[in-house]
């Protein structure tokens, strides 16, 4: 399966720039989600990749071929449209086979592919029906099937789920993800729904006004949005924002807003001068109701009046007003405050986002995902684990091996090698602070399996990261996490 690359793509309609300098590499087999609001240009990018629109300047490559000037039929792409775009006068079978018939494929091969796709998508009994006689979900599956039978180099999805109801959408989202992983076809998926983006994408591209705002793995974008737009767009419920200013607080800097005062520390404090406008962003799930013994009792807090409590079943959203702003905290169902009650919520020191007056993040820091998150995100199969001889590292190694990973374990005692033997992996005895030992581990892993997809650093205390640099070749679009 080939990769896709967009090189400085521009698209203008008259004086309006619809796409402004879009550059992106989609790796072979990767699922990249373009996400943005309406008018962000995400569908235009997809249509340019399909060949349905031509760029004003820039180029598009699929694999090694420059397809910028090629018509759609020569690009070997298949597309699933928002309104399915089935051929209304043809049966499901004819809908699926048209693309193959146009390519003069042998009858037997066409039948084989239709049987295969219909089996995967549960369309077997519908093949002789016309689209009019199908439900929305069935039409959607036919549209998917039509793309699948082509066995194209690249799949394109243009908001394929937006016409389905919520439960069907969730179901189809899982099916699309499963199928794409199974087929391993390079995929570009356009949606305005950030839940689809988060759950489906190997990587997400956030677009606004025709410009790329941020490209990254879903969890990275969630944890470290580069600007206020991305912060507000990715994550449900959306991030809370509090606008305020920086003041000099007797030698240290503090962020002050109506109803909030937060002492600034670290990098942020060094960068912002007193008097500057600053916006605090905090996710509803990163707030806790203040209590004397809470984990962040020492930390800053916000105080406001509860205006609305939404009970969602598993959790609840409590809306409260701080000054003139309405904020939200996501809570469990126990001990919910009542409307009009005063509420104090605490901020976790590590979970605050800062944005300057232009909306740029002041702390583009990276917070490593948890092991579970990394497991979900990584669908490749080779992991190396440092300090994996015992304790949490060994636990991680066992869980990864159970999940189908091949594991390489570095430990300072002989236990790592024993565990590796038990799990059918590679064991190296050495220190996670020694570049030499780590290099031995990496070399042994790459020699054996050719790639590294997940790096689990279980020596999370003390110096946080191992002294390790992976080359692009070793590091196969991998993930780093701490256990």
């Amino acid at each position: 399966m080939p990769s896709v690359s967009f090189d400085h793509l521009h698209k203008r309609f008259g004086a309006t720039a619809v796409i402004d300098d879009f550059t992106l590499e989609v790796a072979d087999g990767e699922l990249v989600v373009l996400v943005g609001g309406s008018g962000s240009g995400k569908s235009t990018v997809l249509r340019m990749l399909a060949g349905l629109e031509s760029p004003t300047s820039g180029s598009i490559r699929i694999g090694t071929r420059d397809v910028t000037a090629l018509p759609p039929r020569e690009r070997d792409v298949a597309m699933v449209f928002q309104d399915y775009a089935l051929y209304p006068h043809m049966t499901v079978r004819e809908n699926l086979s048209l693309g193959l018939r146009l390519r003069k494929m042998a009858r037997a091969e066409i039948d084989r592919r239709i049987t295969w796709a219909a089996g995967l998508l549960g369309l077997d009994t519908l093949l002789d029906r016309k689209p009019k006689a199908l439900s929305g979900g069935q039409r959607q599956r036919v549209a998917m099937g039509r793309a699948m039978v082509r066995e194209p180099a690249v799949f394109l999805f243009d908001e394929p789920l937006s016409n389905l109801d919520a439960s069907l959408r969730a179901q189809m989202r899982i099916q699309i993800g499963t199928l794409q992983r199974r087929l391993g076809t390079t995929t570009v998926y356009v949606t305005h729904d950030q839940v689809e983006a988060m759950t489906l994408g190997d990587r997400i591209v956030v677009l606004a006004d025709g410009r790329i705002q941020q490209v990254g793995r879903p969890i990275d974008i969630y944890e470290a949005p580069v600007n206020r737009f991305v912060a507000g767009f990715i994550g449900t419920p959306p991030m809370n924002f509090v606008e305020g200013t920086v003041v000099d607080d007797g030698g240290t800097r503090a962020f002050v807003a109506d109803g909030a005062r937060v002492a600034l520390r670290g990098e942020v404090a060094e960068r912002v001068a007193p008097g500057r406008a600053l916006t605090l962003g905090v996710r509803p799930e990163d707030l806790r109701v203040a209590g004397p013994d809470g984990p962040w009792a020492e930390g800053p807090s916000l105080h406001g009046r509860v205006v609305l409590v939404e009970r969602l079943g598993g959790s609840s959203h409590v809306h409260f007003e701080v000054g003139a702003r309405r904020l939200m905290v996501a809570l469990g169902n126990e001990a919910l405050p009542a409307v009009d009650e005063m509420l104090s919520v605490q901020l976790s020191p590590g979970r605050m986002h800062w944005f300057d007056a232009d909306g740029r993040a002041e702390r583009p820091g990276y917070v490593a995902p948890t092991l579970e998150q990394a497991l979900i995100m990584s669908r490749q199969k080779v992991a190396i684990i440092t300090a994996g001889g015992s304790g949490m590292g060994a636990g991680a190694a066992r869980r990864l091996a159970a999940a189908g990973f091949r594991v390489s374990i570095l430990s300072s005692s002989g236990k790592g090698e024993a565990l590796a033997k038990e799990l059918g992996g590679i064991g190296v005895t050495g220190s996670n602070q020694s570049t030499e030992d780590l290099t031995r581990l990496v070399d042994a892993t790459v020699d054996a399996w050719g790639r590294i997809d997940l790096l689990v650093n279980s020596a999370g205390h003390g110096p946080r990261a191992p002294v390790l640099e992976l080359t692009d070749e070793d590091w196969h679009r991998g993930w780093t996490c701490t256990s």
């Binding site: 060949g51 039929r73 298949a78 693309g99 146009l102 394109l156």
Partner: protein, 276 residues
Amino acid sequence: MRPDRAGRRRAVAGYTAAILLASVMLIPFLWMLSTALMDEFEVFQYPPPLLPADPQWANFPNALTQLPFARFFLNSGILAVCMVLGQTLTGALGGYAFARFRFAGRGAVFAAYLGALMVPAIVLLIPRFLLIDALGGVDTIAGLVSTELVSVWGVFLLRQFFLSLPRETEDAARVDGASEWTIFWRIALPLARPALATVALFSFIDAWKSFLWPLVVTQSLEMRTVEVGIASFHGLYYANWPYQMAAAVTALIPVLVAFLASQRFFTRGIQLTGIR
């Protein structure tokens, strides 16, 4: 007033209006039928009788054999088939091009087309005749048919229809590997069937009832069409009304059959364009 009574009154008023309007349409037709069965001189009695005293069924065979009506029907049939095929095909091609292709001067050309709809056909009669005469087509089937193969109205109606088709379907075919011609032939055209049927039906009726052009462009008796044949019962000094009406009633039959067989397309045509 009770609501059901109001409803009944409204229904009565509605039906009365409908019956009045229907009568306006129906009475001339019934009179034509009645006249077709009258004696040659009964027609001129005063006051005119509503019904023939003694129905003259022989008027029908007599009228149709006095002039070569079999030949007239054949000529009208050829004209109708050519017009139906020509106008639907050119209408589909032209309409699709106007609806889907971007080319220099598209707007201006289309405006000129619409402008042609405003020109009364009678104004074009002499130029058309001169043209056909110069090409040596007077009194031939080719001359009769050739200027009728394109209908501006057909192009317009089909353009409107193609505009109403979702572009995504065509884009899907494009990504599926279809060329522009394949998209037209295998996707757009099958989807346009209702509109094509409407154009075909209207062309058929236009062909069947056309009078002035066949009258001008044909000269010999065996090149005449049905309508022109009917008119020739009407001489300079003498008119055989019963024969004329008998031939007219006969000429109505194909139109009636076509209409009854495809009523829904008439309605569709009106929905599509708001014309007629």
